[in-house]
């Protein structure tokens, strides 16, 4: 006998990670505002909450193994390979960024835990976003995540740059959200569907050559909304300012989560929903990729602020990831590998920045790195590894991901994209090696301030650097995972 809950697919495990994070955030909020709890208890609550979240991701994986890809909650929530991939990545991003965010909370004037609550909420939102089967759920998840990020950018109320970053991020981000919602509504108007799978069925029903223009515009706007979040050119203008202005301890988290969630959703959209009409967007995507690579590389070469440099490098990397994602199923798998490898390097770099300059400062000039090798050899070696990984030097994960990606692009005969990616790789060696030169080779003019490296920071930075090297030498595991994600759609 089917109960109602079985019919609508009420299964709490599927949204377990989101629920666990929201619950943790609420408990923490409660601890903060009602009873005077000691910091140790709050920390314990948060850490156990995060660990429980990872455990629920594990439970979801178990459910996936028995049930396979399936929809829940009246086809609002989806459990498939993409959502698991996104959940795991988002969980690890939260785990690695927990300490810088936690520490910085106590440097703030009113010493509240609001930063960590916002962080938990934004991860919850983005996890909901990658889980969403329905575009409305996607929007809700995206907004929960993004609004928390807008607030995080401006959490250092005393700093003018932080306020500027928050305002810019908020205004442009809301604009992008509007565009996204408008796209969803246009799709609903023309196809009367709002679901990922429903769209596929509707398009295949009317035939891909008969798809109305309204639908195509709707899809385009939906994609533009997501491209804004990953800072692909020409929607990249917010990224450098927001990265530069936001407190350093948060930028790695902010950049990584939004990118992971948006790219995972985009990958699913490209493979599942738009399979039949992808060729109509080919020119658009190629233009976005080439623009991102061109603008990112050109602007990155002239930056003197490290955070801006990483922002523009992020634009380039978004172009790389996008190029694979829009070139078919094998390319998407290569892109997912690229995404995971890139995110780990990105987090690592910002962890290093926040240990050098403190979590709450905004500016991080390239000269801040001067003398790093003398002051702290460990950090300087890890920094070099991350930068070389971004540049794509062999024996780092960056090389493997570029190789797989470019091979796939070539086999799809996208020679222009291959050419653009190659050019930007050469340019990349210039702007990624420059900071290494300043950090490790140049004789510093004045000695660097003492860096106090806590054990947990050392462990997380060391782990990320080791993973960057290990993925470059033994990439098999992650490549198999990224193949597994797309296997069913081959």
């Amino acid at each position: 006998m089917n109960t109602v809950s079985q019919i609508i697919g009420l299964n709490w495990i599927v949204i377990g990670p989101t629920l666990a994070l929201v619950a943790t955030a609420l408990v923490l909020l409660f601890c903060t505002i009602t009873i005077t709890t000691s910091d140790a208890v709050k920390k314990l609550v948060t850490i156990s909450g995060i660990i429980f979240t990872l455990f629920t991701v594990f439970l979801k994986f178990g459910l996936f193994l028995t049930e396979g890809a399936s929809s829940y909650f009246s086809e609002k929530i989806l459990l498939d390979e993409f959502s698991l991939f996104g959940n795991v990545l988002l969980g690890f991003i939260l785990l690695f960024n927990f300490y810088p965010i936690w520490n910085s909370s106590f440097e703030l004037k009113d010493k509240t835990t609001e930063a960590i609550i916002l962080t938990l909420m934004s991860t919850a939102g983005f996890m909901l976003m990658v889980d969403s089967e329905n575009f409305m759920m996607l929007f809700i998840g995206l907004e929960i995540g993004s609004i928390s990020l807008y607030a995080l950018a401006g959490i250092n109320k005393g700093s003018l740059l932080s306020n500027e970053a928050s305002l810019k991020y908020f205004l442009l981000g809301s604009l992008a959200s509007c565009v996204l919602v408008y796209g969803i509504s246009l799709m609903y108007v023309s196809l009367s569907v709002t679901g990922v799978y429903e769209t596929t069925i509707a398009i295949s029903f009317i035939g891909s050559e008969n798809v109305p223009l309204t639908t195509l515009i709707g899809i385009l706007l939906l994609i533009i909304g997501l491209l804004f979040k990953v800072a692909a050119a020409p929607f990249q203008s917010w990224a450098p300012d927001v990265y530069q202005g936001s407190p350093t301890g948060y930028v790695g988290y902010m950049a990584a989560t939004a990118k992971v969630a948006s790219f995972v959703v985009l990958a699913r959209l490209c493979i599942v929903s738009l399979g039949f009409v992808m060729d109509k967007f080919e020119l658009f995507f190629s233009a976005i990729v080439i623009l991102s690579i061109l603008i990112g590389s050109l602007f990155a070469t002239v930056q003197t602020d490290m955070k801006r440099l990483i922002a523009y490098s992020g634009v380039v990397q978004s172009g790389f990831i996008l190029s694979g994602m829009t070139s078919g199923i094998n390319g998407t798998s290569a892109s997912l590998f690229y995404l995971a490898a890139y995110i780990l390097q990105l987090i690592g770099i910002f962890l290093i920045f926040s240990t050098i300059s403190g979590e709450l400062t905004s500016d991080f000039s390239m000269n801040n790195l001067s003398g790093l090798f003398i002051e702290n050899k460990f950090l300087s070696i890890c920094f070099s590894i991350f930068m070389l990984g971004l540049a794509g030097l062999p024996l780092t994960s960056g090389f493997v991901s570029k190789f797989i990606l470019i091979t796939n692009l070539w086999s799809y005969e996208k020679y222009i994209l291959v050419f653009a990616l190659m050019l930007s790789t050469v340019a990349g060696f210039y702007f990624y090696l420059k900071p290494i030169w300043i950090a490790a080779i140049d004789k510093p003019e004045n000695t660097m301030a003492k860096i106090s490296l806590q054990l947990n920071e050392k462990i997380s930075i060391g782990t990320l650097a080791a993973v960057t090297i290990l993925l470059g030498v033994f990439p098999n595991v992650l490549i198999n995972i990224s193949r597994w994600v797309i296997e069913n759609y081959l």
């Binding site: 062999p394 024996l395 190789f403 091979t407 070539w410 060696f429 030169w437």
Partner: protein, 500 residues
């Protein structure tokens, strides 16, 4: 191949890397131990190479001895292989690394980074010479850049920033083409075998159309030629040599320049022969231009290190001429000349390093009459100069003679012009010798220079012995390159219809 041999060959790749890790983990306050430890660590690869001289496999043409699944879902394998040519170059590398450790002074020998970088460089270079597929070749080829970046960047001369960045950008620009070539070959391999297998055995069995062969040849060869360097891609070399520390210069000239020529012999010609046949004249012409240009520019140099750098361009021109002529004799000569140039230019850079530590100048005009104060040094320098010029009885003669003899069959005019390179070599080397060592002492700083001490003598004399040995008894070294050269000439003849 038997298990013992593959263990030995893995030792060659992994031991330098383990050595580098040991050095990095050493406590900082025991810096006096770094140099002895490094010498000990590099004796082991050296003895492996010595042992391999007795192994029959080291005389064979290319053999794959192991293959590991790297990325299984794409069918990418990392393979390792070995031949007589690889063996000679590995031996050359291990000798030069050992001697450069012996020759470094306190300033460098007490630095973890310096010793460690050289060991990492050893690892990467051995990887190139032992790699059995395009991907691992590219990986090791690029990995060479990391230790060189730090060696030149941290311990280089005054203008090191410019030189290092120029070196990196040139090499990366070249290796991007190798990368594109690797991807292209991978796509072709995928369409024919269903996997991205890129090992040399698979590549031999792939069939390329003429256009593919031409394109792949150009891509790979361009990348390798930047490293050789062939005129007009050579401009990074003089800057890099002048700014690099002595050990860096020794390894740059002795080993890294060989990597490019090795790649052409191992990959470009055997697999993309049609492309080679289409463009060999261009390469031969540019090498002859390089021979003459390098020699003429060397004559005009006022900095002795720059002079040797330009002489390297000239000598590597001979190697490329021999390769593009691709007769049995010229190919053998080219491989032998690679080894010879490694030995002679390594010795020359070491000698320049010795005098630089004493006088802190490299200007030829700052010296003069050194023969009076440093007789041993002068004798050794003269001996090495003769080897570099190609005096019969010393090693330089063997390689250049074989190249010119073999090349004359293919390119009569070009080879005749190239022969003038030998005469020009005598001019720039002997004139420099004359200005530095003969005559009266003009500057009083040169009055009290002490002659070479025991350590310095020990680090340079093995190279002199090698010069003499190869010069007197070349058939020993020739027996190791014969099969490699035969392999290439066979393929070339297959495509030209046996006309050459």
């Amino acid at each position: 191949m038997d298990a013992k041999l593959s263990t030995l060959i893995y030792t060659l790749i992994l031991f330098p890397l383990i050595g580098a890790m040991v050095i990095f983990l050493m406590p900082k306050n025991r810096s006096e131990l770094f140099q002895p430890l490094a010498i000990f660590l590099s004796i082991i690869p050296f003895s492996v190479c010595l042992y391999l001289f007795s192994n029959l496999n080291s005389k064979s043409s290319y053999q794959q001895f192991d293959s590991i699944n790297w990325i299984s879902s794409y069918g990418i394998k990392i393979s390792f292989g070995f031949s007589g040519m690889s063996h000679l170059l590995l031996s050359l590398t291990s000798v030069l690394i050992l001697l450069s450790f012996l020759s470094v002074t306190d300033k460098h020998s007490r630095s973890k980074g310096f010793i460690g970088s050289i060991l990492v460089l050893h690892f990467a270079v051995n990887g190139v010479f032992l790699s059995g597929d395009l991907l691992s070749l590219f990986i090791f080829f690029e990995a060479i850049l990391i230790p060189m970046y730090f060696l030149m960047g941290i311990w280089g001369g005054e203008n090191r920033r410019y030189a290092t960045i120029k070196f990196i950008i040139y090499t990366v620009f070249g290796s991007i083409f190798i990368f594109i070539g690797t991807v292209y070959a991978g796509v072709i391999s995928y369409s024919q075998t269903g996997t991205l297998a890129l090992d040399y055995l698979t590549l031999t069995n792939l069939s390329f159309t003429q256009e593919q062969s031409k394109a792949l040849f150009l891509l790979f060869t361009f990348g390798f030629l930047v490293k050789v360097p062939l005129f007009p891609l050579h401009t990074w070399l003089p800057d890099a040599h002048v700014e690099a520390p002595t050990a860096g210069s020794i390894l740059l000239a002795g080993v890294l320049l060989k990597v490019g020529a090795y790649g052409i012999l191992r990959v470009s010609i055997p697999f993309f022969t049609e492309g080679f046949l289409a463009y060999r004249e261009v390469i031969a012409f540019l090498s002859v231009v390089g021979i003459i240009y390098g020699a003429i520019v060397a004559i005009a140099q006022i900095d002795i290190k720059k002079l040797i750098a330009y002489s390297s361009i000239s000598h590597m021109g001979f190697v490329m001429l021999g390769i593009s002529a691709s007769t049995l004799l010229s190919l053998e000569g080219a491989i032998i000349q690679m080894v010879n140039h490694g030995i002679t230019s390594g010795a020359l850079f070491m000698l320049v390093g010795f005098i630089y530590e004493r006088r802190h100048t490299r200007r030829i005009s700052d010296f003069g009459g050194l023969k009076i104060t440093m007789p041993k040094y002068a004798a050794i320098f003269l001996f090495t100069s003769f080897a570099s010029i190609g005096l019969p009885g010393l090693n330089g003669f063997v390689g250049e003679f074989m190249i010119l003899m073999g090349g004359f069959n293919t390119y009569k005019l070009l080879t005749a012009i190239a022969a003038f390179g030998v005469v020009l070599a005598a001019i720039y080397m002997l004139w420099a010798y004359q200005r530095m060592f003969t005559g009266e002492i003009q500057y009083e700083q040169n009055q009290n220079l002490h002659d070479l001490d025991t350590r310095e003598l020990f680090s340079v004399i093995p190279l002199l012995v090698l010069m003499l040995l190869i010069g007197i008894y070349p058939s020993f070294i020739e027996s190791y390159v014969l099969n490699d050269a035969k392999f290439i000439t066979d393929i070339v003849e297959l495509f030209t219809g046996g006309l050459d």
